[in-house]
Point group: C2
């Protein structure tokens, strides 16, 4: 049986595997530092659609198709989908996922949704509720600006603390340990720590990093306590989209708790763009940002053994245009997922096959 750890964590005794993943991004993302690593770069930000919202659905649908194709399965093999996006009433997901005909758990955790989806998919597989489950999230620069701030046509100025919503979608297929695709060695989700809503009173919709950093601090601190680990137990602690401003705050807040992650920390939003050259302010953001970075950058490093264990911490800012206009705060939430390379189980497998260890 999987085990409850501490106040808000789970450790899986039979850790599910990420058996395939995909990343579909827009032109700007394809021109960034990770150029060449995404599965698909779509030059047309409208992806052949009539509007930005339909385009975001098209990105998400394509990401699902690629993940399914890579795993060598068909949509009917997927028992449950866990999905969400940033648009009101999660419409990007609703229209993207209908064609697959898979029972759907709709999620909303702002930009932390990829952590939420991976957590629930892993919990569902580890509990024996599904053999194969999917987790997919998306965001789109233009649909998000329209949803949360101003129509792009206003061409309003952006302060340096602003983040730039990533146009893209990442999809993941999670399966039980006995799922094996050829010789490829999947990585495992070995634990999760589910975050609480944390409200430090930030009211600036142009500074999401500051709104989310306290939630990231809260879940990282809880995770390390629940698992009895330190930052040294991880090769990387990777937040979703704090950007440069949020990163500084996170590191400072954790130092106050005598936790130093400065050497281990990376932020998907800082990595995905060359923020100075590309004019993306504090960094990338959005439901798609952490998802495509996990698929295109971190999972390959785990599969090749260059990373052994990461703490993946997508971060979300809980606001809507209405709550913001009504003068409400912007609380944050973050969910942590432990992802490890499965070298041990692989070497066992190879021994079984060849009669000698690798």
């Amino acid at each position: 049986m999987s085990e409850q750890r501490g106040r808000q964590s789970l450790c899986f005794s039979h850790p599910p595997c990420i058996v395939s993943s995909s990343s579909v991004v827009g032109k700007k993302e394809g021109e960034g530092p990770l150029s060449g690593r995404f599965d698909l770069v779509v030059e047309d930000d409208k992806f052949g659609s009539e509007n930005w919202e339909e385009a975001e659905s098209a990105f998400q649908k394509k990401a699902m198709e690629i993940a399914i194709e890579k795993a060598g399965v068909s949509p009917e093999d997927i028992r449950y989908l866990f999905a969400g996006d940033l648009l009101g009433q999660s419409v990007a997901s609703s229209f993207a996922l209908q064609p697959f005909g898979v029972p759907l758990f709709g999620l909303y955790g702002a930009c932390s949704t990829s952590g939420l989806a991976l957590s629930l998919a892993a919990m569902t597989v580890a509990a024996g509720y599904a053999y194969l489950a999917g987790a997919v999230t998306s965001s789109h620069f233009a649909s998000a600006e329209k949803q949360f701030r101003f129509p792009l046509e206003y061409a309003n100025q952006r302060p340096l603390s602003t983040t730039w919503t990533v146009t893209g979608s990442g999809a993941f297929l999670i399966a039980g340990q006995d799922f094996r695709k050829k010789d490829e060695c999947p990585v495992r989700i070995t634990g999760v720590t589910t975050g609480k809503i944390v409200d430090y009173g930030v009211r600036d919709s142009m500074n999401m990093g500051a709104a989310m950093a306290p939630a990231a601090k809260d879940v990282i601190e809880a995770h390390l306590e629940d698992f009895g680990r330190t930052a040294d137990d991880y090769d990387r602690i990777i937040t979703g989209d704090l950007g440069k401003v949020g990163r500084e705050i996170l590191i400072d807040l954790l130092k106050e708790k005598n936790i130093d992650i400065s050497e281990k920390h990376m932020d998907c939003g800082i990595e995905i763009f060359d923020n100075e050259k590309q004019g993306t302010g504090s960094g990338g953001s959005g439901c798609g940002c952490s998802a495509v970075m996990l698929s295109a950058h971190f999972l390959p490093l785990l599969r090749s053994g260059k990373l052994r264990r990461i703490l993946f911490v997508p971060t979300g800012a809980l606001l809507s245009r209405i709550s913001f206009n009504e003068g409400q705060n912007v609380p944050g939430i973050a969910h942590a997922v432990v992802i490890e390379c499965c070298e041990e189980s692989c070497s066992r497998r190879r021994t079984d096959r060849s009669g000698s260890p690798r």
Copy 2:
């Protein structure tokens, strides 16, 4: 271990219990046929808040507080919360639940969210991931009209097919089987069937019943097949908010599949208002509708043994104002939850105590 049933269902071998629940509603709901059964009727639809969105949060917060108090627990005893509402970016839940400090899984399934939340809370408890989990949803007539249709100040006319969003919130605490509160006999969630997105091409935002009925048909049909049951195995099959128009469509669609639920079917939206007298059109609707009806009406009937087994099927219409204005369809989704009275375990318990069966 809990068991996968068919393509999209789970049957819990150790069914979790609904150990407490609550219903907080607005003035109009309190004047309807269920007058006197809700835990709290709030005469002021703004609940002392400055705007409708904050009011909805206040309803949800109050519902949580009452459920917690009834169960005789404290917020720290709740390991996970599963919650959602109808507002963009689920802000009603974000602001309602922050004070409880409980790890949160944010959900979105339109008006089906109460089924989604109950399903995931039950799955989480049955898997041993939590001893106590909460499920809470809310809706508010004024915030929903503003979110999906027109500001109330426009006083626009409503066709008869329109439903009336319920102002209210229902909260549920789900625990493992060994949770016992005094002599009260909890009811159990014995199975779930998770729905798919179903799109019949409906484009009328004033006729949500027609948009959701095909999804209700789909999940009820799948449920009966997965469990090898017929409608006769249930005392009631209870949809969320199809209203009078959606009910007719659901019954007709199932008849085409040789499934007759006409004698067993009830709809929370039809029951909560005296729709002719109260001018609520086809019926009540919203995330809060099915939740408060389950808590105030159906759970007491199950606890007293007047109902033995119900299939609770909250129904959701997947649209946003933007998707609607862009001419998209309104697909539907519905999630089914099997809820049973635990007479068997109760009579065992009473036998243990008194030495003779009841």
